[in-house]
Structure formats: structure tokens, C-alpha cells
């Protein structure tokens, strides 16, 4: 919740700041900047690069601020670490009261705990000393060294001057006290707003992990091997899917018999998410490479078939007529008219298929694999190695993004006539 509010605030401040600075510093007179109607004019809306940079920076800074990173200057309040104390008042069975102090040492997460040396003090209630790690809580057996025990009817009635009874809580310095139903005191040091490393490690830990795993590997394979295997499976599965799917799509676009025969199959298989096929593929082909490649083949097959079919259907009949009138044979029509005309559709399909395959391979590896990006983060999560999990997610995202950019660039290069015909 706090993160969301901070995020929205940063968004708004950045918006107005960049607007203000940009308007002051840069005079623009290109065609778009002279348009008065931009709201609703899609062509006038291009991504603001400053916004993109600030957006990435904001996420990184928020991440650092909430994980006490060394790389970010600002941090939200962290958990309390250090020495603190509180006093309680014990009421003996005979009604007499005495107070005692509990000294607490809160040590940073992951470091050994130590107690403060204390004196017992006067009266029947004696001083105590407890230790606890940050983000954890500790039960204070305060009557262990006292002259009256709880079993004998002694009970704590006040903490730091505030009355307390079972189930109630009292705020003290650097934490709070909750009395359990059995009458013991549970000290919870302030947690602050930062995340525990086990939930979200700071960015530098993740980067350290990348370096470490790149050099030493994880689960018998190096980072490059894990990612490389995932990519290899995607490429092999996608290529097989395209090699079968594109001719099938062409056949469906060119012959009524093929269209009729395969339509029910394609239309039925298309909405089945590839993830739903994982169990069946595992039963049929096991968890090895064959199963994964079959799965990715199936994931890309239908997409490529439909793309090729749409590509053929999208050929303007006048182009085909023109080619026939120029004396082209059926094979020449296929080679010089239908194939190039369907390329833009096929590229769009290939982009979608690569995206789906990449998602499917990671999911398949999550289920069962010896190596691969998905397997890496799944195993890491079992051991609560959050930094590896986050590293894996970032790398998976980056690779997926890179694949998409690559496909788009090659599309611009190979089918420049897209959308122009």
C-alpha cells in the first residue's frame, strides 16, 4: 500500500517536473509539437523517453529503498536493531506489586544473537535479558528468575505504566508487547517498512548472484547453460512448428479439402493453452528433451498454421488475377505472389509464437527439468533463495523482450512492404 502511494507520488512529481523543465529548456517546432489536438490523436502520442528512463529508475530506487540497498541513497525505515528495554509490574498472589526491567538486544537478521549482561535488581521481580533477531519476536519468560511464578498466581499487570491483560498489546520503545493467553509477554521489535531479504533481497545481492552463478553454476549447470538450453528448446520447437505449420496453413488457404479437413483440428487445438498439454506430454514422452520439444512444437504449430492461412487469405484477388494474366503458373503464383504476400502475417505469427514458446518452456521447466531457466528458479524457490528467483525472473523477462525486439527488427528488414500494399 505504502509502495503504491510512493509510486504514484513519484509518477506525478516526475510528470510535472519533466513537463516544466522540458517546456522551459527545449523549444520544439516539429510537426507533432505544433498540433493542438493531441488527446485522441494516436499518431501524436509517442512514448516519452524521459518517462521510460524515470520509470525504470523509479522501480530500481523503490526496490533499493525497501531492501536497504547500498546502491540507493534513500531508504525507508528499517527494522529496529540495537538495545532497548521495557519495564513490567508483577503482582504477587498476596497483592503486593514490584517492577522489573527487561533488557532486549535486537541483532541484525542473519547475525548471531547476544544478550545484555544485567543485574537482577531489588524486589521479588527480577530484571531479565533477552535477545532477538530483527523481524522476529521473542517470548519473555519474565517470571523464570522472579520469586513468584505464574503457576503460583503471579501475573504481570502493567508494562511501561500501561495496564495489560492477556490478548492486549502495549506500545513500548522500539517495539510492542503482546500478552499471550498464558500471561507471558511477547516482544515484537519494530519491523519498519523494509522487506526481509528472504522476501525481497536488495539489488546488489541479485547482481552478486548473477556473477556467482555465471562463474560457478547452479545445480550442475552454469547460468549460460541454463538459459541456453531454454533458448535452444524454444528455437527447435518453434522451427519444427513453423516447418510443419506454414505449409499446412498454405494448404488450408489454397485447398477446400485441406481447409475442411484441418479446420476442426486447428480450431479446437488453438484455444487449448499449451500449459494444459504439459501433463499429457509428460505421460507420453517423459520429462526429457523430447517432451519439451513436442510441447513447444504444439505451442507454435497452431499459431503458425493460422498465420500462414491468414496470410494466404489476405492476398488480394487482383494480385493473383494479375499474375495469372501475366502468364504465371500455379507454382509461380505460389512462389512469387502468395509466399511474399503472406510473409507479413507469418512474421506476426512468428512473433506471437516465439513469445508463447518462451512462456511455455519456462512453465514446462518449472514442472520438471534437469536444466533450464524455469528449473533454476523453481529449485531456488524450494530453498528460499529469493535472489536466484528474482535473478531468474529478470533474465527470463530480458530474454523474452530481446526475442521480441529481434523479431520486430528482422520484420522491418525483411518485409518492408508490410501494411503498405
Amino acid at each position: 500500500m505504502i509502495v503504491l502511494i510512493i509510486y504514484i507520488t513519484v509518477f506525478a512529481i516526475a510528470f510535472f517536473a519533466v513537463r516544466f523543465i522540458a517546456n522551459r529548456l527545449i523549444e520544439r517546432h516539429d510537426f507533432t509539437s505544433l498540433k493542438t489536438v493531441t488527446f485522441g490523436d494516436e499518431s501524436a502520442v509517442t512514448p516519452n523517453r524521459w518517462a521510460s528512463i524515470l520509470s525504470v529508475l523509479t522501480i530500481f530506487l523503490l526496490w533499493g529503498a525497501f531492501t536497504n540497498s547500498n546502491w540507493t541513497p534513500l531508504h525507508v525505515p528499517g527494522p529496529f536493531v540495537g538495545d532497548t528495554k521495557f519495564t513490567y509490574v508483577m503482582e504477587a498472589p498476596n497483592g503486593s506489586r514490584d517492577d522489573a526491567t527487561v533488557y532486549v538486544r535486537v541483532s541484525p537478521a542473519g547475525e548471531p544473537k547476544s544478550k545484555i549482561e544485567t543485574e537482577l535488581g531489588d524486589g521479588f521481580a527480577k530484571n531479565d535479558s533477552v535477545s532477538v533477531s530483527a523481524w522476529r519476536s521473542v517470548l519473555v519468560a519474565m517470571d523464570k528468575n522472579d520469586e513468584f511464578k505464574r503457576k503460583q498466581g503471579a501475573k504481570v499487570v502493567e508494562v511501561n505504566g500501561s495496564p495489560i491483560s492477556p490478548g492486549h498489546r502495549v506500545q513500548v520503545d522500539d517495539g510492542e508487547i503482546v500478552m499471550t493467553s498464558k500471561g507471558t509477554l511477547n516482544f515484537i521489535p519494530n519491523k519498519g517498512l523494509q522487506m526481509e531479504p528472504i522476501w525481497l533481497p536488495p539489488p546488489e545481492n541479485v547482481v552478486d548472484r548473477v556473477v556467482e552463478i555465471a562463474q560457478e553454476g547452479y545445480q550442475n549447470f552454469t547460468l549460460l547453460e541454463h538459459l541456453g538450453w531454454s533458448l535452444l528448446r524454444v528455437i527447435v520447437g518453434f522451427v519444427l512448428g513453423a516447418v510443419v505449420g506454414i505449409p499446412l496453413g498454405y494448404a488450408m488457404g489454397l485447398s477446400d479439402w485441406f481447409r475442411g479437413w484441418f479446420d476442426p483440428i486447428v480450431e479446437f487445438m488453438r484455444p487449448v493453452p499449451p500449459l494444459a498439454l504439459i501433463p499429457l506430454v509428460i505421460i507420453w514422452a517423459g520429462i526429457g528433451e523430447t517432451g519439451k520439444i513436442i510441447l513447444l512444437f504444439l505451442a507454435s504449430l497452431w499459431i503458425m498454421t493460422i498465420a500462414a492461412r491468414a496470410g494466404v487469405s489476405g492476398v488480394k484477388i487482383t494480385k493473383v488475377h494479375a499474375a495469372y494474366s501475366l502468364g504465371a503458373s500455379k507454382w509461380q503464383i505460389m512462389r512469387y505472389v502468395i509466399a511474399p504476400n503472406s510473409l507479413p502475417e507469418i512474421f506476426t505469427g512468428a512473433r506471437v509464437a516465439m513469445g508463447v514458446c518462451w512462456g511455455t518452456v519456462v512453465a514446462a521447466e518449472l514442472v520438471a527439468a534437469e536444466k533450464g531457466a524455469g528449473m533454476m528458479i523453481m529449485v531456488a524457490s524450494r530453498f528460499q533463495l529469493t535472489d536466484i528467483v528474482i535473478m531468474g525472473i529478470i533474465l527470463i523477462g530480458a530474454i523474452g523482450y530481446a526475442i521480441d525486439i529481434l523479431m520486430r527488427k528482422s520484420e522491418d528488414y525483411l518485409v518492408p512492404w508490410k501494411g503498405k500494399g
Partner: protein, 269 residues
Amino acid sequence: MSTLSIDDVSMRFDLGNGEHVQALKNVTLELKTGELMSVLGPSGCGKTTLLNIVAGFLAPTEGKLSLNGVPITEPGAERGMVFQQGALFDWMSVRDNVAFGPKMGGQSPAEYAETVDHLLDVVGLQDFKQKAVYELSGGMQQRVSLARCLANKPDVILMDEPLGALDALTREKMQSLVLKLWKETGRTIILITHSVEEALLLGERLLVMAPRPGRIHKEYQLPFADLGVGADLREIKKHPDFNTTREEILSMIWDMEEEIMGRSEGASS
């Protein structure tokens, strides 16, 4: 004698609900080599159907067609076609578009280079030959279409409203180009158009078709196409005969449109 003969051609197809459309009825025509015939008529008169039958894209339900005595049953290189728009191959350069026919016919680049370059000169696109066709203006694209069709040296050129999508000025220039190419190449041309003026200017023969069923209504023999070769077309439009014939055809088509409207109103009431 090389002629295109259309002998008693009828075209009738079922709509699937028991009704049928009589797109053409008993159309008989003969075109000699080198004739330029323009075809006019209200929409639905079957002029595009007729062209598609001649091109071989459609088979007539009755009647026979032949070119130089050879029956027409399917599309062929001897009958070239120029479409209104969007029939160029976007993935090829201007030159490759023009060279498409010879290349499909099995000629080597060296064999067709001269023809193609000459045609690019004729249509004035020599400087644009390496460009992609989608980079050209509409008028230039139609010039590519014309050149592409001519590169194949067809006996008959079928034009389906080739200038219909152009602006008035470009259209006028293109009309002159069509006349020039017609005279220079001596090809037989059938030109379908919506514009009465264009039909008068370009048509040595002018065919007015009537709808429901599609049939030949009237045929004119006109002098304007011959006069127009190499001349200013605007001067020809001032010719008194030009205006009288135009008015006559306009009112003829107007009456047909009226009749269609009246008939469909009558049918609905």
C-alpha cells in the same frame, strides 16, 4: 485475321436461395486487332463480369469465346489485364514488377532487359525503377501497371477502370498516355470506365451496356480516339459532336438508373 470473338455469351448464377442473377444475356461481339473499345454502363450491367470472362477468370454458362480462333478457357499471357488499383506486387521494385511477365514466361534477364527498360522510358519511370511500388503516387503506380502489362506483349489488353482512382489532372495525362501506347503498340484494348468523357475520348468503339439482364444496349463508332493521339484532349472535348454524344449517352444511362430505381421501388411496394 486475328480477332477476339465473343459469341452469344450468357452468364447466370444461382444465389443459393432459389433465385438467380442473370449477369449477362446473349452478348455477341467481335474485336479486330488494334481496336480500342470502351465499355460504359450503370453499375450492375455486367461489364466487369464480361471482362473477367474474356480474361478467363470466369467461365460463361452459355456461349463461346475465342482469340485468334483459340477458345478462351483460362487466364493466359495473351490477354493482359490492367486493374484499378492494388494489383501491383508490393514486395518487388518497379522494374521487377514490369519484368514479371517475361520472367514468368521463362526469359532470362538479358532477354527482357531491353523491353523492360524501353517500357520504363515510355511511361517515364526510368528514374524510379529501383523504388518500391508503395513509394509511388497513384498515377505512377498505374503507369507501372500499364508497363507491366505491355512488357508481356499481350494480343488484347483488358482494362478494368484503370484510371478510376486517379485525380482529374493525373487522369487526363494518363488518358493521353493510353492513347499513345495504343497507337504505338497497335494492341487490341477493351477499356471499362465509369466516366462518359473517358469512354468518348478513348473509345474508337463505345459500347453502352444495360443492366438486368446485362446486355449490349447500343454501340457507337467514334472519331475522337484517333483525333486525340498526340493532341490536346481538352480541345477535343470542345468538339460539338463530342458534347452531343456525351449528352445522349448521359441521358441514356440516366434513364437506365431511373428504371432500376423505379423497378426496385415497385418490387418493394
